[in-house]
Symmetry: C2
Subunit: 325 residues, 2 copies
């Protein structure tokens, strides 16, 4: 490929940092963020040099009860506009749309009338053709698009190859390597990054990484992917995200050498919003049950339930997981 | 060197896992562990396949007030024997001795009369000759020895080379790569591992790694070093250790493919001892202030004080650190 490995001192202008705090964090609190939290996060991200801020999901209001979730599960354009106005900043606005859970033909309007810049299509490997349909619809409407292929640690290697080829031939701008279960080690991320980059280079696309922290490797896996040539990097403030959470923004921005990035605004945001959120009893972040599902390459839902139930019998939980291996 | 890089599926018989829970964890609670904690940890380590268990420091009773510390600051042979008897197990017993803080000539008796198998000499780069004196004294008395060169992230590269040469020519069995400030990234650990291994191979010695978790990289750095050929791996249960703590034993043993290692006994130990310890208000582990000293390659003492003071003004703290850069 002739790609030169990046070094610690590299300044890599094509890096894009994607803040997923509201979207992945919304899975912790059903998207019930107060308006000041969202507004302050928007301001902090701009000041920190973050490239994209993801506001949440564009979920179907026919499938999901709007009374059971905060507004960022649905990301109405008007709600985003109430925060960002016309968003006259360098930071772009992103929303995630799940295959099969989004009425994209109806709910996604033309880009010229929307504050949203990027739609991120999330798909499992068996719904790639449906993902491509959504990608093409969004592209036609004028949006940037990326695609997350989820749960690949459970997928057949040949299926991943086939999926990458299909996506390479689509209009998508960036293909994400996603470690849904936090089960991947850096040397696996390194190899998969090379695989994704090979297809991406062939078709003129970028590659991104979305990591989870089950084994305290979200940051390590993110910078390993970066070293290989991955350029879209997902992070959340203080790891806020489902279960064990994500790559922490403050670690990532503290690491990147691009002079536009700074962590002070994030530190202030953490003081003002994350500390009280934790003190109010909202629970997320690395803990033993997430490690165990990560080691076993399993969905974290059992670990989330274990944590919610206030259980501490880690060994019994491990034995239960092994029963379902 | 002809060294073959290890892979994820490798089973590497020469790996030695060193449990430092009492020694590094003692820096959190001044070594006041109750006897049941120590006895249960000893049993859990044996059942988990841990190779060495470090009981604490052999600190000088002339320099340190025995009333201000628990007994594991001093590690009298009789106190170890009260836990391990004659230690008729496969797990060896280790104690750390700091250069300049240990009356080694008087306090370290001959191996044949002691339950201790290994002395780990801890030194800064400017006291290597004193470290060598201690190594030779311990070796002559019949002990295995290892050496930790601390704070190398602040050291001149040529000084590290000179230190490694001196230690290579000593009787020491293993030289530790130590990330005292948790400032090293995996690619730096990779390069330093190669440097240490080159000298170690030349002189027939092993290399170890002792990582800190300031940037959530303790585990990632440990397995990166392992991949390069490092074989002595330090860990503590649930990261228990000064400030942000260490590489968690449960992550490390969950990763290693050597069939002798298992995590169930550690999970039971965590349930019984670590959960109540945390609930009682003992504080350690990754947090923002440790990240900040790690990024800046500074001693964690300011972050420890910040945490003790219950401060949450992370941005002000960061500005203070920059003033002392």
């Amino acid at each position: 490929m002739g790609r030169k490995e990046r070094t610690l001192m590299s300044y890599t202008p094509e890096i894009k940092v994607m803040d997923c705090t509201l979207r992945d964090g919304g899975l912790v609190n059903n998207f019930f963020f107060d308006d000041e939290f969202v507004k302050d996060l928007y301001e902090a991200n701009i000041r920190s040099g973050v490239d994209y801020m993801e506001f949440g999901y564009k979920a179907s209001k026919e499938l999901f009860d709007v009374k059971k979730f905060g507004k960022w599960k649905f990301c109405d354009d008007k709600d985003i506009r109430a925060v960002v106005g016309d968003n006259k900043t360098d930071m772009k606005i992103s929303v995630m749309a799940d295959v099969g859970r989004c009425d994209f033909k109806k709910d996604i309007i033309n880009k010229k009338d929307s504050p949203i810049d990027l739609y991120r299509i999330a798909t499992y490997i068996n719904t790639i053709p449906a993902a491509v349909e959504m990608i093409e619809d969004c592209a036609k409407k004028g949006y940037e698009t990326t695609v997350n292929i989820m749960a690949i640690s459970k997928s057949n290697e040949l299926d991943i190859d086939a999926a990458l080829e299909l996506l390479g031939q689509s209009s998508v701008g960036c293909i994400y390597l996603v470690d849904s279960y936090g089960s991947l080690y850096p040397e696996q991320v390194s190899r998969l990054s090379d695989k994704y980059l090979e297809v991406a280079d062939k078709y003129g696309k970028k590659v991104g990484i979305h990591a989870h922290n089950n084994q305290q490797l979200a940051f390590a896996n993110t910078i390993e992917a970066l070293r290989r040539g991955v350029s879209y990097l997902d992070a959340t403030v203080s790891s806020l995200g489902r279960g064990c959470g994500n790559c922490p923004s403050e670690l990532l921005l503290g690491f990147l050498k691009n002079p536009k990035y700074r962590i002070n605004p994030l530190l202030k945001f953490i003081e003002k919003h994350i500390v009280p959120m934790k003190e109010s009893g909202v629970v997320w972040g690395y803990d033993v049950p997430y490690l165990l599902t990560g080691i076993l390459n399993q969905h974290p839902k059992t670990a989330i339930q274990f944590t919610r139930d206030g259980r501490k019998d880690y060994n019994d939980f491990y034995l239960e997981l092994l029963d379902n291996f």
